[in-house]
């Protein structure tokens, strides 16, 4: 039956030859290769839950009176966007689950991208020939952050409206064109003509996701074309890939993993409350709540804004709000540009233009590892700086002291992190056999009283044994029947 179907398709599309290569594609069996899969599957869930949400959400700033089932809000004047988001949570069955799962999926999506990217960076997987894919991935990270911001702005609640206000002021801070850009995007001075939700909506549900889908296709296409990298090990060389075949082993495991990721996201969506907009209330431009923090992936930008000194530049009849422009426009611009050009910087610096399919151990590249650690420390430090008010409250310290601490901590911590990481890498390179279990030493005394020391026998687990890899030819020469029958994957029979 399956044979017949495959033949029917092959008669029309000729899938057999390329298809065999495709199902033989090898996926390395290392846990760190799952990180990108988490991002992929959260994106799948984002699309699914997102489609559900679009059916009920109304992107409109039009004011109506709320009559839904959330009693404290009844009779209040709210926007249609806010009312429909609250209705979605309380009056649409499974609506709250879908909404919260969507929000959690977005947070996990960006978290998985960040960790996946760190793995790729620290192991040198971005090197030739994979620079394209590094750039495509970075673009998806940027678009993911943008779309996350647009998405949590849509409910028009007090917290997200404050975020939109801040975004408007950041756009306004751009020299020369800032106020024009702000007026065009919002249809006038903030809060504009109420058109901003419609614009954010179409960008959030159509334009950015469409670009991400395109980039995702390119990301996976490049991965198939260029094949995976792999960690060094027995039988692993620059000229092969060792692991499990796409079909059936990898497909089974990864499909199972899709379900596992979904389980976690829907579990969080049902049990861990996120963004309870009915508690925040409708956005009003003159109202604000205490301890307003954005979603985690925006925290680093918020923190940078907080610790920046008030350096507004005024002269020749013009103002450049450097206290906004530098931390909110120049800083992220620099970070993303450094990320994008890093593979080229590194190959110029190391004069290394060879192909690299075997991954580095981070310790073996102390400078790169230290640079990555410094970058993560910088971003982590500004991230924590975004909760200065919460920390001041929690530790019972004056807010000003906490801010001053971060003004020094943010620039200094990365330097310290670079130095420490660099030293640790060097020490680890110098230490022989690090990471292996030490053999027990057996001390014995002879009848004459002399002591001798011998290493104990090798016990299981002392050395990590790797198995011999079995060849799976990717290209079957069908003109040679012997080769055709000898090739293939193993199957368990009983």
């Amino acid at each position: 039956m399956i044979d017949k179907t495959l033949n029917w398709v092959d008669d029309r599309l000729g899938i057999a030859k390329g298809g065999r290569t495709f199902v033989d594609k090898i996926f390395p069996d290392h846990w760190s290769f799952m990180l990108g899969e988490i991002a992929l599957y959260s994106f799948v869930i984002l699309l699914g839950t997102g489609v559900f949400l679009t059916l009920y959400y109304i992107p409109s700033g039009h004011e109506i009176v709320y009559h839904g089932s959330y009693i404290p809000l009844r009779g209040q004047h709210v926007s249609e966007a806010y009312a429909s988001s609250v209705d979605l949570s309380f009056d649409v069955r499974t609506g709250l689950l879908m909404r919260q799962a969507h929000h959690w999926a977005a947070d996990i999506f960006l978290g998985a991208i960040a960790v996946h990217m760190a793995r790729v960076f620290f192991t040198g997987a971005f090197r030739k020939p994979r620079e394209f894919n590094w750039i495509v991935g970075t673009l998806m990270l940027i678009l993911g952050i943008v779309n996350g911001f647009l998405g949590y702005s849509l409910p028009d609640d007090l917290v997200s409206g404050t975020g939109i206000r801040i975004a408007y002021s950041i756009i306004e801070s751009i020299p020369l064109v800032g106020s024009y850009l702000g007026f065009f995007l919002f249809g006038g001075n903030f809060p504009g003509t109420g058109i901003i939700l419609e614009r954010f909506y179409i960008i959030h549900v159509l334009i950015v996701p469409a670009i991400i889908v395109g980039l995702l296709a390119a990301h996976l296409g490049l991965l198939v074309k260029q094949k995976h990298t792999q960690f060094p090990g027995k039988g692993k060389t620059e000229h092969n890939v060792v692991g499990s075949p796409m079909f059936p082993t990898f497909i089974a495991k990864t499909t199972g993993f899709l379900f596992m990721s979904s389980a976690v996201i829907f579990g969080l969506g049902g049990f861990a409350q996120i963004n309870p907009i009915w508690q925040f209330g409708q956005y009003q431009p003159y109202q604000i709540s205490y301890a307003v923090q954005p979603d985690w992936y925006m925290g680093w930008l918020d923190g940078a804004l907080r610790i920046m000194p008030s350096w507004e530049w005024v002269g020749w009849g013009h103002t450049i709000p450097l206290e906004v422009f530098l931390p909110a426009v120049v800083f992220p611009g620099l970070i993303f540009n450094i990320l994008i050009v890093w593979p080229f910087i590194e190959s110029i610096y190391t004069k290394d233009h060879r192909y690299h399919n075997l991954l580095d151990r981070p310790r073996d590249r102390p400078k790169r590892t230290a640079a990555g650690a410094a970058m993560l420390t910088l971003l982590g430090a500004v991230f924590f700086a975004s909760s200065t008010d919460v920390m001041a409250n929690f530790f019972q310290l004056p807010l000003i002291d906490v801010l001053w601490f971060f003004r020094f901590f943010v620039p200094l911590a990365p330097i310290v992190a670079y130095y420490i990481t660099f030293k640790i890498c060097h020490e680890m390179i110098a230490a022989e056999g690090i990471g292996k279990r030490k053999r027990a030493l057996v001390v014995s005394r002879s009848t004459e009283g002399a002591y001798s020391t011998v290493e104990s026998d090798v016990r299981p687990g002392d050395d990590h044994e790797e198995l011999e890899a079995i060849p799976v030819p990717t290209f079957i020469d069908t003109t040679d029947p012997e080769l055709a029958t000898a090739a293939g994957v193993r199957r368990v029979i009983r």
Partner: protein, 320 residues
Amino acid sequence: MSDQNPKNNGSQPPATLDDPHLQPATKNPERMETLAAVAIVIGMLGFVAFIWAYWVDANTQWQAAALTVGMLGLGAGTIAWGKYLMPQGPFVEERHDFHSSDAERESFNAAITGRGGLEVKRRGLLLSLFAAGGGIMTMALLIPGVRSLGPKPAAAADTQAPTDNSLFTTNWKKGAKLVTVGGREVKVDDLQVGGILTVFPQGHEGSSPDQVVLIRLQQFGQVEKMVPPGRKDWTVAGYVAYSKLCTHLGCPVGLYQEKTEQLVCPCHQSIFNVNAGAVPEFGPAPRPLPQLPITVDSSGQILADGGFNQAVGPGFWERP
């Protein structure tokens, strides 16, 4: 999982059960098959429970629990199937460098660089013109695409521009009555010392650029020592009024600490001293909150004694 199809061209000699490549648990395949099957059945039950939870409109937690069990079961079963009952490597696949052979490169490059059709002298000219044409076309299409989105910001000189179209104007005029967001007129006796109220010019309640904080610092008289020189007439009966838009990013400066007489912006913790003309004492805000001159009429109604003397809110390029 037996596969004894003799026509299977892709099969190697089957692995025996003592093959070191197999997971130890695969030594008993029946057991593993049962395990995977049980997990999938649990998953199915979870999904059925989800349908039930939906049907009876059970609360979100029940729905999530059912769905989670469903996906965990299905996922665990599929992974067990893949891990214990499918071919386990490591398998190896060869790979080759991506670049083409020198001959292929040469012929490709020659096709790109050498296929000029007729030999013309000014091929470079056509190319530059084509690029310029494409660039102008892009501009031509982009300009309406961007420009149609919104109005042009009004210039600073246009003091009559509506607030929707200008970053410089507000609706505060001489004689505008101070009202609450609900439209209630604010009288001189409304606040006690230390009291604070968000007010708007009558007829513009709730408007973003017009929001003002009215604070009563003293019981009577002018509070000239608490405002910059030259502004002693801007206060009345111990009241001062400042724009509520933070000069950093335009958040409402909503936290008033009565003890220290400081206004704190909850967004990025800029601190303004209302005791000294709302100058920023700490944080990223660069400028004092613009002050609104106020006065009182014979009925005790507080009025604006003029508009703001500068643009309110965060900085921007056209701000002088």
